[in-house]
């Protein structure tokens, strides 16, 4: 009797899995959670290094430029050194995310010769005058949000799933609602809208010039627009190198004070 029950359960699970796979194949029945899990688990490089050209543009079209070198290890570790202009040269930033979802961030400002911890309450501050907050540079944890799939839409040439993410009760999130346009071919969120405490649209992040480099879909242009301040930050990634085997030791406060070639 017990054996028959086990076989029945196995058959049931098998049939359910088959139907889920079939649904996934069609794309139509994927839930918002399925899509965002797919986004979270899509293949990403072990490590990446690039030069970033970061332009900060206000509503009058005035532009400030920042040249930055960035090293990443997965989604968890990132270190950035500002190369120009002269008044920010030598400043650097380190982010390390932990498995429990917490993160450590430090900023080094050469004028004060101090490595300064960015504490949680300061993570809503803008990063070096850009439209990215320190929180924007972290990854959102899947389990901190509830998801609802909305009607699919094309954004430019990208055919996209559209998913609404709402922070769960008790989660200290910067935005009360996030809408993600996830390109079906790559599971990259090519556009995201962020809503503030009043439910008003605060920012829009857009990715473009997405190409496969070493087998990984990689965006070469990223724009964050603060629609309330009418200010935007455009980042162009140049000289992208993937999986070059960056030493794990580089992602340490030790390296904030010297720029790695």
């Amino acid at each position: 009797m017990k054996r028959r029950l086990r076989v029945s359960v196995f058959v049931l699970v098998f049939l359910l899995s088959l139907s889920a796979l079939a649904a996934a194949e069609k794309g139509g029945e994927l839930s918002g959670l399925d899509i965002m899990v797919g986004v979270d688990e899509r293949p990403i490089p072990e490590d990446m290094r690039s030069e970033m050209s970061m332009d900060l543009i206000n509503k009058r079209g005035e532009t400030r430029h920042r040249g930055v070198r960035v090293f990443r290890q997965g989604d968890e570790k990132q270190i950035m050194w500002f190369l120009d202009p002269a008044d920010v040269k030598g400043s650097s930033f380190l982010r390390i995310e932990h498995e429990d979802g917490s993160s450590d961030m430090w900023l080094y400002l050469p004028a004060f010769d101090k490595i300064r911890r960015i504490v949680a309450s300061a993570k809503k501050e803008n990063f070096m005058g850009s439209d990215f907050t320190y929180d924007d540079m972290s990854t959102r944890r899947i389990e901190d949000y509830t998801y609802r799939r909305l009607k699919d839409e094309a954004w430019g040439s990208f055919e996209c799933y559209v998913v609404e993410s709402l922070p769960k009760k008790g989660v200290n999130a910067e935005y009360t609602r996030v809408l993600s346009w996830v390109w079906k071919d790559s599971l990259i969120p090519v556009k995201e809208e962020y809503y503030d405490n009043l439910g008003e649209l605060k920012k829009i992040r857009r990715l473009s010039e997405i190409e496969k480099i070493k087998g990984y879909w990689t965006a070469q242009i990223m724009t964050m627009e603060d629609v309330q301040k009418e200010h935007r930050t455009e980042i162009v990634f140049k000289d992208i190198e993937i999986d070059t085997g960056i030493d794990d030791g580089v992602f340490d406060t030790r390296y904030l004070k010297r720029i790695v070639e």
Partner: protein, 414 residues
């Protein structure tokens, strides 16, 4: 320039001439106009300063830096005053186990923002005590090692020779020395320039998991001399030894950016029996800040000092007259101070406004320093600000109340 620094500079220039060394430079020009609002409207023009920093590296293991500041003061007067200061001139050597730096250098300890009781290694230029600490600090010849052991950083510093701080003239604008102008003072007796005047410091730092903290110990000299009295006369000015044990942290408490430091200063009057030398004392600072969504930052800090080993009220009164000669400069003005910091950014206009307020709760004095800055383009920033003193004559800050300042400066970075 002393011989060891000259040797370091020679070594650096020799390295610069060797093939394979890539040289870079950066710095800034900072002309400044400063006007005293209540002292006869004097408007000295200060070319304050030209900083040139030359750096170079060879491969990834060795680099060097020379940082030189040139000051041109009193351009409106007949005689131009020019001076320069080699702030830093050092060689770095990086190894897998640790980093080593030898030469004239500035060492920063402490996780609090501006007031750091644990930061005592470098001498300071106190001639204008109201400039930022990073500008006051003077380089010191030292060997520094940073050893990395897992999540720990162990810092060791050896300073072979004593280097004195620059103290304000008794008749200077902001003399906080406890002697009236014109007091005949003998020249200072500095410790011998040999290894017997060595100083050293050790610090263990742990960063990560939401909490950074460190423990430190420094054995060195006080920054300000102690007068040796014979009746009413000052017969000698000497620099006393001091040992300082400190601790500091930075973390998030109740949603606030919170930083704190404390240090225990063991003076040469270790048992509190010498009436002319300050008893051992604690200094501490605790600061918290919060940034609102409209780019407005509000910070509050409390800094203070407590002298220990006081036997009776008479000694307590005597100790009040001896100001601390190491640790936070703020404690030279107040042993019980509250700091309020208001900051507002207008990123779209590239304008920033900040106004630190210091209230000396012990003696009822106050310092307010509003400053606005505007960056019309990269590398160029204009500053306009006020330095306003008020309070009772008993307070050091109140005693400067006829020395309010207004200033305008331009910084061009290159």
């Amino acid at each position: 320039m002393n011989r060891p620094v000259a040797f370091i500079l020679l070594m650096i220039f020799w390295l610069a001439a060797a093939p394979g060394w890539a040289i870079g430079y950066r710095g800034f020009l900072q002309p400044m106009v400063k006007s005293y609002t209540s002292k006869d409207g004097i408007v000295p023009f200060k070319f304050d300063a030209l900083r040139l920093e030359i750096t170079s590296s060879y491969g990834y293991d060795i680099s060097w830096l020379v940082r030189n500041d040139i000051y041109l003061d009193n351009l409106t007067e007949e005689r131009l005053t020019a001076r320069h200061e080699i702030r830093e001139a050092y060689v770095d050597y990086y190894t897998p186990a640790g980093d080593f730096r030898v030469g004239e250098q500035i060492i920063s300890w402490g996780m609090a923002d501006e007031n750091n009781p644990t930061d005592n290694i470098n001498p300071e230029d106190f001639s204008d005590p109201f400039v930022e600490k990073s500008e006051r600090k003077l380089g010191v010849l030292a060997l520094k090692s940073d050893i990395y052991l897992g999540n720990w950083l162990l810092e060791g510093v050896w300073v072979p020779y004593f280097k004195a701080s620059v103290l304000p003239d008794l008749s200077g604008d902001y003399s906080f020395m406890p002697f009236p102008p014109g007091t005949p003072l003998p020249s200072t007796t500095e410790p011998p320039q040999d290894p017997s005047s060595s100083q050293f410091g050790l610090r263990a730092v742990k960063r990560g998991q939401g909490f950074d903290w460190s423990l430190s110990y420094y054995s060195g000299y006080e920054k300000i001399f102690t007068p040796v009295m014979s009746g009413p006369l000052v017969t000698k000015l000497i620099y006393n030894r001091i040992r300082i044990a400190g601790a500091d942290f930075a973390s998030d408490f109740f949603g606030l950016d919170t930083r704190g430091e404390t240090a225990y200063f063991i003076t040469e009057d270790e048992d509190g029996s010498d009436p002319e030398i300050k008893n051992p004392y604690f200094q501490y600072v605790l600061e918290s800040s919060y940034t609102f969504e409209n780019d407005f930052k509000l910070g509050l800090a409390h800094a203070g000092e407590t002298t220990v080993m006081i036997d009776d009220q008479t000694e307590a009164e005597q100790e009040k007259l001896i100001f601390p000669r190491a640790g936070m400069q703020l404690c030279m003005f107040s042993t019980n101070a509250w700091l309020l910091i208001l900051e507002k950014e207008f990123p779209d206009q590239y304008i920033s406004i900040r106004s630190p307020v210091i209230h000396d709760a012990a003696n009822d004095g106050m310092l307010v320093r509003p400053e606005a800055s505007w960056s019309p383009q990269d590398n160029l920033t204009y500053y306009i600000g006020l330095v306003l003193f008020s309070g009772s004559g008993d307070s050091m800050l109140g005693s400067f109340s006829d020395m309010d300042q207004a200033y305008f400066k331009i910084r061009y970075s290159f």
